[in-house]
Amino acid sequence: MGHTITVYSTRGGSGKTITSMSIARTLATRGYKTILVDVDIEAPSLIHLVPPHINPKDMKFWTQYIDDSSFHISDVIYASRVENLSLVYSNTPEMGKHFLQTRQRVWWESALKRELIAQQDLYNLGYDFIILDNQSGTSMNSVNNMILADTSVLVVRPANYGVDATESFIEEMYRVLKGIKPRNDFYIWNQVIKTENDDEEKILREFLNRYDPRIKKSGLTLGCEIPFDRVLNLFLLSATDQISFDLPADVQKPINQLIDKILEKSGQI
């Protein structure tokens, strides 16, 4: 049986997609058959970070899969340059926004059913891990994608405004999701600034120590701390296939820690 990891955040720009890509790539290089699905139909970014090898006009997208029951999930799967790693793209934001703005409750119920079918079909196709790059915030879409998760990874940037919003958000989110299926919930500090002296380190640690218990009270476990990495951020300015390049060592190491924890808790080690 496979395992689904949903990566999400309370707001955009926290590094959700890069984290999703890093988790997916690392699992694939460890030999797990992995698929990364861009389910962020509001702001799909996988198509920009990992440009497909064919013209998007000739492609089929996740958005089409959930809207049209004549599609099978295999119709929207594309190979990546990384062995064991496949990709599912979402279409341009216009289509996703159209769904988000116009679709009624019944459509989202149907979308959840389509996602549950996709999940089973992907496991039947032999995928060990499904990584869902979720939409940020609360919407029918983001909650649907959380429902599928065996493991969730909440990406948080250490800044007061972001963490305060996260704290109030996750309490409600986990209350709603509790009991649907057994799930392991992690959070990661992302883009943690590199301190240059003891005073700066003290400020950072005081901040993290203040918020850690407030996030953990919703049942989340700290997965890792990923430092802000200049090379990685510069790299994001390019327009190449960014999933096939090695992560900087100071980013890869905490990602490995996170994955070890996920594997251990899911009993996959």
Binding site: R105, V106, W108, E109, I147, V176, G179, I180
Partner: protein, 230 residues
């Protein structure tokens, strides 16, 4: 094989063979009525439908609004009846009445299905062997029982196709439920392949609610039977 929806309590066939009068021909569910109750029920249907009018058009369905039937059974049942006069003059004044018993909480649902039910009865094939000479041949009862079970399956399929008002896949609705109901709904939502019926013991008390609301359906038979959300 139809999935069991649980909304239709029983389907009954009543007739008025001219030599024997009101007759309880057969039903889909064993031991639903006692023998005396069957006789009483058949007579009551005859009165309600005003059977015996030679002028009833042949082959045409005469329906009715739901009628409460609290006296004959413990549950709060109502029924719909549809009478049909065979398309064959050799049976004279014979009328067949299809009676559908259901829990009164589903009145609106059944009422909305009346046109569909009429269509089904119009095309439903049933042999009238056994009604010759204004009589009813009791040995034909197993045949009519089987036909009523077939008819009930058709109705269950009709109901299965109707979208439920609320869905197990609507998280906002599910979280508005309380206690065991919410627990069960969430468990179903997270079980896309369904839950084995044998594992439902702790939810037995809330299951009727979900069946009534048509938010669940059953698949498979015996030990492999599972319940799934819709």
């Amino acid at each position: 094989m139809s999935t069991y929806s649980g909304i239709i309590a029983n389907c009954v066939l009543v007739a008025n063979p001219s030599q024997v009068g009101p007759s309880y021909i057969a039903d889909a569910v064993d031991d639903f009525f006692t023998h005396d109750q069957q006789m009483l029920f058949a007579s009551r249907i005859i009165v309600l439908t005003g059977m015996g009018h030679q002028k009833t058009p042949e082959g045409r369905i005469q329906g009715s609004v739901p009628v409460a039937e609290p006296a004959n059974y413990e549950g709060e049942f109502e029924f719909l009846f549809f009478q049909k006069r065979p398309n064959n003059p050799k049976y004279g004044n014979l009328h067949l009445v299809y009676v559908i018993l259901f829990e009164s909480s589903n009145t609106a649902l059944l009422r909305s299905l009346i046109p569909e039910i009429e269509k089904e009865i119009t095309t439903f094939q049933i042999s009238l062997e056994g009604f010759e000479g204004g009589l009813y041949d009791q040995s034909k009862r197993p045949y009519f029982t089987q036909k009523m079970q077939e008819f009930q399956n058709i109705l269950n399929d009709l109901i299965d196709k109707m979208p439920p008002e609320n869905s197990i896949f609507d998280i906002a609705f599910v979280t508005s439920l309380h206690g065991k109901k919410q627990e069960f709904a969430k468990k179903l939502m997270g079980s896309p392949n369904g839950i084995k019926v044998s594992q439902l013991k702790e939810f037995e008390s809330v299951l009727p609610y979900f069946i009534d609301q048509r938010m669940v359906f059953f698949e498979g038979e015996g030990e492999d039977q599972v319940i799934r959300g819709r």
